[in-house]
């Protein structure tokens, strides 16, 4: 307890030694479990899908662990603390999105696929081009998402370890990246899943504990938390912050018509993005049947819903107890709201625990993304396209292990470059890519018999390219004070969130591409696909434990 708190001066919060110590304990315990779990990682099905042997509840907890990233914990709590109600929209979009996954995607996908999203999309279409397109969009979404997580790691490190020099931050991000590579290489999908499960329990438990503590401070009266949050915000020394009404929508997105359309665009990407996220889709292959896939989504919805209710209390609690000025002055700005709240509530120990949980969150999500990207590369690009299926599954595992190392190094590089953008915003961009590039093709493949190869290619590439082009020419990248490149201005697209244009465009391109090319897909394969996806005939079974 020698190092004292002076967050308002931009110094460290709590005791860095305690923070690192608790995190190291988490790493030690999970590594031990990963090594134990890895004993059976001999076949491709075991490495990529954990032998499809997880139960629905286990997988549901792992899904929530995969999904509740640093964006949810640090980003949403921070956005609510600083902007109030508008931060709450993220929670609602992220949660309602699960209904798309539950009702339309999860079970049919589980029945029809093997390792990756591309298995399903290319099933009844032309294998080669569709697989390449699906793997491309998978890798693009994973990279955007990785960028968000690594940006979160950088901000967190700055806050908790008082590592502010570029070199010091780079070093810590490199350590996080190397740990992640280690987990995935040793543990495969099974080890990664166990890390997600442990992390989800810690994260949800930690958030629940803090919520109870916040509520206790206000006599279990949520209305009083809201009142205290508003009066703290109104008392802010910054005029722009002080005039915000944090209890009603509009503080972040209400100023002009453009910003309102931006808000709707964000909402669209959030609700349609989840069911197109490759690392979420891949989790449906770790259970033995479609019925277990359904059960896992139910568990995920319950846990994720509960967690977002906690972040509402945490966000307003941070505004009320810490105050927006102290949060914005802290090294990680908005993203530091939850750790600062932990310190106010429970001192060095709770801060250490919550920081370790946040690190663990980043580590686990990065591991999940990495194994998804590596699986997609090894299975879709290397085995199916480059080697025309003339490759053993052992070879696929070997290639994916190499890919893990490459992606890990790439993630470290991106994390070092990533600026202090709000992590929830970066994740929203990943959702926009997933919603535009993946979801239309997934839905058309599953429900529209006439859909064909050209429709899939136009929709996937059109969605991917339009999203990325619009982001590059948006105020998020240039022209605005908060942009990644604030000193140049090549922004001609007014919205930071491109979904409202790119998502309908991708749906439309799928229809146009399909209708402008002949209906020449094999009806027998189409029939097989439909029967298998609906009934589970011939679905990949769980691997027996040997």
């Amino acid at each position: 307890m020698t190092i004292k708190i002076l967050a308002a001066d931009g110094a460290t919060v709590g005791n860095p030694v305690a923070n690192i110590g608790i995190f190291a304990l988490f790493v030690a315990i999970t590594l031990y479990i990963v090594i134990r779990a890895s004993k059976q990682n001999t076949t491709a099905a075991e490495f990529f899908t954990a032998g499809r042997a997880f139960t629905g509840p286990q997988n549901g907890i792992a899904i929530s662990g995969d999904y509740l990233s640093a964006a949810s914990f640090l980003g949403i709590a921070g956005a609510i603390a600083v902007y109030g109600y508008d931060g709450f929209l993220y929670s609602i979009g992220f949660l309602v999105a699960w209904l798309v996954a539950l009702l339309l995607v999860a079970e049919l996908l589980r029945n029809a696929g093997k390792f990756t999203m591309a298995d399903v999309l290319s099933f009844r279409l032309k294998q080669r081009p569709v697989r390449i397109a699906a793997a491309t969009t998978t890798l693009a979404v994973c990279l955007f998402y990785l960028l968000a997580q690594m940006a979160g790691a950088g901000g967190l490190v700055a806050l908790l370890l008082n590592v502010k020099g570029t070199l010091g931050q780079a070093l810590v991000i490199a350590v996080v990246g190397l740990l992640m590579i280690l987990y995935v290489l040793i543990g495969g999908m099974k080890g990664t899943t166990w890390v997600q499960i442990i992390k989800a329990a810690l994260l949800i438990g930690g958030a629940a504990l803090m919520t109870v503590m916040v509520l206790a401070k206000f006599g279990l009266n949520f209305s009083e938390i809201l009142g205290a949050a508003q009066s703290e915000v109104s008392g802010s020394a910054t005029e722009a912050v002080a005039k915000r009404d944090v209890l009603a929508p509009g503080a972040q997105y209400g100023a002009s018509l453009t910003s309102r359309i931006n808000f709707i665009s964000l909402a669209l990407a959030l609700v349609l993005g989840t069911a197109g996220l490759p690392h979420v889709l891949m989790r449906f292959y770790t259970v033995p049947t479609a019925k277990e896939a359904r059960r896992s989504v139910v568990w995920a919805i319950a846990l994720i819903g509960a967690f977002y209710l906690f972040t509402l209390a945490l966000g307003y609690g941070a505004a009320a107890l810490v105050g927006p000025d102290e949060i914005l002055a802290a090294p990680g700005a908005q993203n530091s709201a939850a750790p600062l709240l932990a310190f106010h509530l429970g001192g060095v120990v709770l801060l250490g625990v919550i920081s370790a949980v946040a690190f663990a969150t980043i580590l686990a999500v990065v591991a999940g993304l990495t194994i998804t990207a590596a699986t997609s590369f090894a299975h879709d690009i290397y085995a199916s396209v480059m080697k025309s299926h003339q490759v053993t599954e052992d070879e696929q595992v070997r290639v994916s292990r190499i890919t893990v190392v490459v992606i890990g190094i790439l993630a470290i590089g991106l994390g070092i470059l990533a600026a202090e953008q709000n992590i929830a915003f970066l994740v929203a961009l990943a959702f926009a890519v997933a919603a535009a590039a993946n979801l239309p093709t997934i839905l058309y493949s599953l429900y529209w018999r006439r859909f064909n190869t050209r429709g899939a290619l136009w929709s996937m590439y059109g969605g991917l390219i339009s999203t990325i082009v619009l982001i590059v020419f948006s105020p998020a990248v240039s022209g605005a004070k908060t942009a990644m490149l604030p000193n140049v201005d090549f922004a001609w697209f007014p919205l930071a969130n491109p979904g409202i244009v790119s998502i309908p465009l991708a749906f439309l391109l799928g229809i146009l591409g399909t209708l402008t090319s002949p209906d020449d897909e094999d009806p027998e394969i189409a029939a097989e696909f439909e029967v298998r996806s609906l009934t589970g005939v011939g679905a990949e079974k769980a691997v027996a434990v040997h």
């Binding site: 076949t43 109600y85 508008d86 709450f88 609602i92 979009g93 949660l95 309602v96 699960w98 209904l99 798309v100 009702l103 339309l104 079970e107 029809a112 093997k114 290319s122 099933f123 009266n221 949520f222 209305s223 009083e224 809201l226 009142g227 508003q230 209890l247 009603a248 929508p249 997105y253 209400g254 309102r260 808000f263 709707i264 909402a267 359904r294 139910v298 919805i301 319950a302 819903g305 977002y308 209710l309 299926h389 003339q390 490759v391 053993t392 599954e393 696929q396 429900y447 009806p523 027998e524 394969i525 029939a527 097989e528 439909e530 029967v531 609906l534 009934t535 589970g536 005939v537 011939g538």
Partner: protein, 116 residues
């Protein structure tokens, strides 16, 4: 280890049988039941979600009306999204266990039993 296969062609049932299965009344029944449930339900929750989003974007004053203490309409509708998500999840699971699973199971048993 085995070679990597295309996803199709792995089952003992030939492509020809799938056309017949697809055309069978049992399968058509399963298919239309699924679609008659999931499409309207998806439309319902998407409309409700976007009604909320549009209110949040354009009806700030309405959302700010206080109902009880500092709890306003915006917060109640937001929490209502949580409630509706949980309720729709519950209804779907109850319906799928009752309507979907036995029918899919029957078709699967017939196919896998007849072809092995």
């Amino acid at each position: 280890m085995s070679q990597t296969d295309l996803p199709h062609g792995e089952t003992p049932v030939s492509g020809h049988d799938y056309l017949a299965v697809q055309a069978s009344p049992e399968f058509q029944d399963l298919r239309s039941r699924l679609r008659r449930f999931v499409f309207p339900m998806s439309a319902l929750f998407l409309v409700w979600y976007f009604a909320y989003v549009l209110l949040g974007a354009f009806a700030h004053d309405f959302m700010a009306i206080k109902v009880w203490g500092n709890i306003n309409i915006g917060l109640l509708i937001g929490l209502g999204q949580f409630v509706s998500t949980f309720v729709i999840t519950g209804i779907y699971v109850w319906w799928a266990n009752r309507e979907l699973d036995p029918r899919a199971e029957a078709i699967r048993a017939k196919l896998e039993g007849g072809a092995s």
